[in-house]
Amino acid sequence: MRKEKVLPKKTKKISLEYIFFLIAIFLTGYLFLAPGHPTTGDTWPHLVRQKIIYQSIKENFSPFFTFYFYSGYPHLQFYSPLFFFITGLFTLLTFGNLILSLKIVVFILHILSGLAIFYYLKKETKNLFLAILGALAYLAVPWRVLYIASFGNYPLSLIYLLLPLIFLYLDKSFLENNTKSVFLFGFFISLIFLSHIFYAVYSLIFILLYFFLKRYKLSFKIIFAFLIFFSISLFFILPFLLEYRNYLYPQPQLNLPPPNPLVLLGLKQEIGGYTGTYFGISIFLISIIGIIGLGISHWKSILWLISLLLTFLLPFFEKYTESLSAGLPPQRFLVYLIFFSALLIPNGFEYLQRKLKLPEKTLFYFLSILVLIDCLPSTIRLRYAEKENFLAVREEIYELLSYKKVFKVLDIDIPDDKIDNFRRLCRYPACNFLYGNLPSPLGPPFHQFAPKNMFYTYPFVNYLSKELTDTISRSLSENFLKISSLLGITHIITLPTLLGAGEEETYVLLKTGIEWDDRFLISGAQPPLVYGETKSPIILISNIKRPMKRGKLIKEGTLFIASDWQDFLKEIEIDYEKGEINFIPGLEKDNYDSLPFKSDLKIYDYSLKHNEIQIEYELTNQSYLRLPISYYPYLKVYLDNNQIPFYETKDHFIYLKSEKGRHILKVIFQQPPLRKYTLIFSLISFIIFIFLIIFKK
């Protein structure tokens, strides 16, 4: 009888290194889950986008336009929407908890990005230690974590996930001759474009450089990949490319500085602004050692150096390269530096091992722990603000306003004469929407694609704020009330005008002209905000329309505004009781027209939704109506369910002609054909792609 050799049964043992890796991943991502509410910079527009997607899923409307901001603007038509699709969906799963779902999504993406780069490095190096160390470095860079979590650049989480996947599947496509990999490569490129267009363009440049440095040969695979990329992202890319110039709001050249190398290396401590924050000396050093080990001509060294040069040199050529940097902070290129550092770190490890002749495992733990103790303290102890603290009395004002008829709310915050006051333009319009569901004539700041009416709205709002700082006049000026009517502001939240302070008292002024609710001021609540109803008519009528000269654009602060906004105000006269304007200001090309009779206006009811504004009114005679709604040619206006034409005013709002009688007016956003058909095409492509991935061997 033949004796068979009995082999010991293979047991799968989870290596200690995996457990270490898992713990490290959680530690590096801890800040994403830290308690509290993020409040800085870009947090606000992102939260707004997230909430709108969430509401659009729940209430079944298109998330690509909203009347809640800027008097109506193309929300997510010119901003890559993928991140918000995900967070919006998660918000639905968390029953509307925006912050919780945001934190969960960003944390999951952080972990996934760690696993993605680990998988990529494992494939490349075939060594567990090298892959874990590289992945740890990729995750632990304090700048990366802080730039996402503290500065609110959330879509970057997707970029960190997609970068290793794109490079991985590019390699697989060419080295393994695998069609599925080609499809996935194309798919991930489409996702990166749907995540953030700026990073997508630069990722593409780096991919091309990589392609040529690795000497891959052009083949049909690439065409396939690009077909998939283009068809899946078509609904965003094509309208973007065709339309973005028409909708671009001019941006002044800001010449944002590059990050400060001293800050990145930790020699100087600064958080916030454009100077960057700590990068992690350990990561920087091991990457340099990697370059020493590989040589400067290796593709990794070249791409690492290019990302470094882009970060620090591009700003010096801002004049010539504005389109390259899109006016965005140069520190954004650090994303690529982090990625290529992570790729270099395994080489740094190998070089050190060769030179120091240390056991691989010992060196692995030494370097991993060094990276962690170098980087983690910068992020692990941070906390976000408490929602109750930064909203304070506003929460109660939102509650009170929910019982009132509101068209648009302007939150002045502290009155001043600063046209680009960040809190007024960004934070409070977003807060008012997020926590009070209140519309605003302002932001959330996405100045690049703000509607043209902002040429006037920005200086108008600044005028209102400036007037509230004036301590001489006891009543609100004529212009103040004009602006409220022109912008459709029904309510104002503000700190009262400060007159002075005695030993124990503070003297404030509440100007007449608005019915102020001063209960929080009297009770000494903090901040001592007041709010009031402007009683401004939201529709202005006239029997005359006349063209006005087009004004020039001038720069004020960091914004472009219309130079003739004051002259425009001077020419306008409004009867607030009747809701009558002396004439409808048309565009320069418009013609003069006068209707035979003046009319009286009575507004019965109105409502504002993301895609629809409805107003019920009555006219005694045929009249022109001016609506404080941004002019976009693709909007549809219905008068008693019959579509009617509408036109653009000089200040880029809407006007139309209405017959006498009682009417229901609806202004509706419907997906324009180009967007509608490309969206259908993209969805079909996506389904086909899924089918191919599942069934293709």
Binding site: L265, G266, L267, K268, Q269, T362, F366, L370, D374, S378
Partner: protein
């Protein structure tokens, strides 16, 4: 010793020569005491002396004594220079007696300007290198050194100075010394107990007895404090920020790399622990003091933190026992060169503020009452991570006499305390505006102000006369 060592030491001493004022938080208060003691005839109606038996007086005695021959500013510079020199030389000697690689002694210079010095804990900053020297002498003694009696005398002097530097450092040295003697019973002689016992009997016990008679024991108050788990975790996490400049991630990274290297070395070669029992004992006791010494008490906070630099020196000592590679010398030199540049540039940038302050002080009339209101306590960029201007108004007194608004003489355990008729009430040192406004600012002649005033305080400043405004400081006269 190599010749280039001296050059390196000299470069570390450089700031002592060029700085107008030092960025050491409490130092101006210590100098204020020395000034008052030196000119006691002028201040006798306002201050009561409690000079002996009293700890935390070494800086005071050293400067008051030497200032009879030299200006106070110079004596203070000598004191700081001694700290730097002692840090290196005592550690060099320590490595020599434990047979460590002596090039590692250079790494001690990384913490020459350490946490204690930056906080202006002038006694503890002086005591730490002395403790290292004391351990080195003890090892020498237990090895059977022929100059046994001389070492015992030296140890006695050291114990006394260490007590005068700070009672905490004395307790630590006392305990460590006894445990070391206990563990090495073979070499033990009864006379070895004399140095700590003499200090205990003639200094420590009378000091405690006097405190019991008056305001109660500092130490008892200290031990009543609880140590929370959070504090222990914090001690671990913040260790590297308690070694030197807090706002410099580069030096903190080096500290971390050294710490990690030692931990890995000790895991790989555990015999190092067994073979060097005295080093292990000292290291272990230091860790106990660092992690578990009770938290805040009375006026001082977090005494345990002050042992962090000592831990770092022991970590280097372990490295020196095993690593002997030639390349290491170059690595250490590279680290030191970077550190020298980094450190001197920071001091150089700080000098701008010191000069500004001095310029302002020179304009003021002598013998006035002054206070500081620091709305912004650190310059931007934050050069050191400490509230370096907190006691800067004391420099006015050193230059022009008069009285300062906040003084350590308010603290009941100080060697100089206020008498009841001191002309100024106590103010909150961290938030002086809370004490000074709305009324008490009128008690002062000059106010040194930094940063943007609170909106509610603006009205008071409008009533004052702005004498000068430089980039960081403004000085107001409260009366026309």
């Amino acid at each position: 010793m190599k010749k280039y060592y001296f050059l390196i030491i000299l470069l570390y001493l450089l700031p002592i020569f060029f700085l107008t004022y030092f960025p050491f938080v409490d130092l101006p208060q210590h100098l204020h005491f020395a000034y008052v003691l030196k000119n006691f005839s002028n201040y006798a109606p306002y201050f009561e002396k409690r000079l002996f038996p009293m700890h935390n007086t070494f800086h005071l005695f050293f400067n008051t004594f030497l200032s009879k021959f030299l200006p106070l500013d110079i004596t203070n510079r000598i004191y700081i220079a001694l700290i730097i020199l002692l840090t290196f030389f005592s550690f060099y000697y320590f490595l020599k007696v434990i047979n460590g690689e002596k090039v590692f002694s250079l790494l001690s210079l990384l913490i020459a300007y350490n946490y204690n010095l930056f906080w202006g804990f002038m006694g503890i900053a002086f005591a730490l290198p002395l403790i290292i020297f004391l351990f080195a002498l003890t090892i020498n003694l237990l090895k059977g050194n022929k100059k046994e009696n001389l070492i015992v005398i030296l140890l006695t002097i050291l114990f006394i100075i260490i007590f005068l530097c700070h009672s905490l450092t004395f307790i630590y040295s006392f305990l460590s010394y006894l445990v070391i003697l206990f563990l090495d019973r073979k070499s033990f002689r009864l006379k070895y107990l004399l140095p700590p016992l003499i200090t205990l009997i003639f200094f420590f016990i009378p000091w405690q007895a006097q405190q019991f008679q008056k305001e109660g024991s500092e130490l008892i108050a200290q031990f009543k404090e609880n140590i929370s788990l959070k504090a222990i975790y914090q001690n671990l996490l913040d260790f590297w920020e308690r070694l030197g400049i807090k706002s410099d991630n580069l030096i903190i990274f080096i500290f971390k790399a050294v710490t990690l290297s030692t931990i890995f070395l000790l895991i790989a070669t555990p015999n190092l622990l067994k073979e060097n029992k005295i080093l292990l004992t000292s290291f272990f006791i230091t860790l106990i003091f660092y992690f578990f010494f009770p938290g805040s008490y009375t006026e001082a906070v977090f005494l345990n933190e002050r042992f962090a630099p000592l831990i770092f020196l022991f970590l280097i000592a372990y490295l020196s026992l095993k690593i002997k590679k030639e390349i290491l010398k170059y690595l250490i030199l590279a680290i030191l060169i970077i550190n020298i540049f980094d450190l001197n540039i920071r001091f150089f940038l700080f000098e701008k503020y010191s000069r500004e302050f001095k310029r302002i002080v020179n304009k003021l009339e002598p013998n006035k009452k002054v206070a500081g209101i620091f709305y912004e306590r650190r310059p931007k960029p934050d050069l050191f991570g400490y509230d370096v201007f907190l006691h800067f108004p004391c420099y006015y007194q050193l230059e022009k006499g008069g009285f300062v608004g906040f003084s350590f003489a308010y603290i009941r355990y100080s060697p100089l305390i206020f008498k009841e008729d001191y002309p100024l009430e106590r103010i909150d040192e961290w938030f002086p505006y809370r004490s000074l406004f709305p009324d008490r600012y009128k008690d002062y002649d000059y106010l040194f102000v930094t940063g943007e005033a609170r909106l509610s305080d603006e009205q008071y400043f409008r009533k004052m006369v702005l004498i000068d405004s430089l980039s960081f400081f403004r000085v107001y006269a409260t009366k026309e």
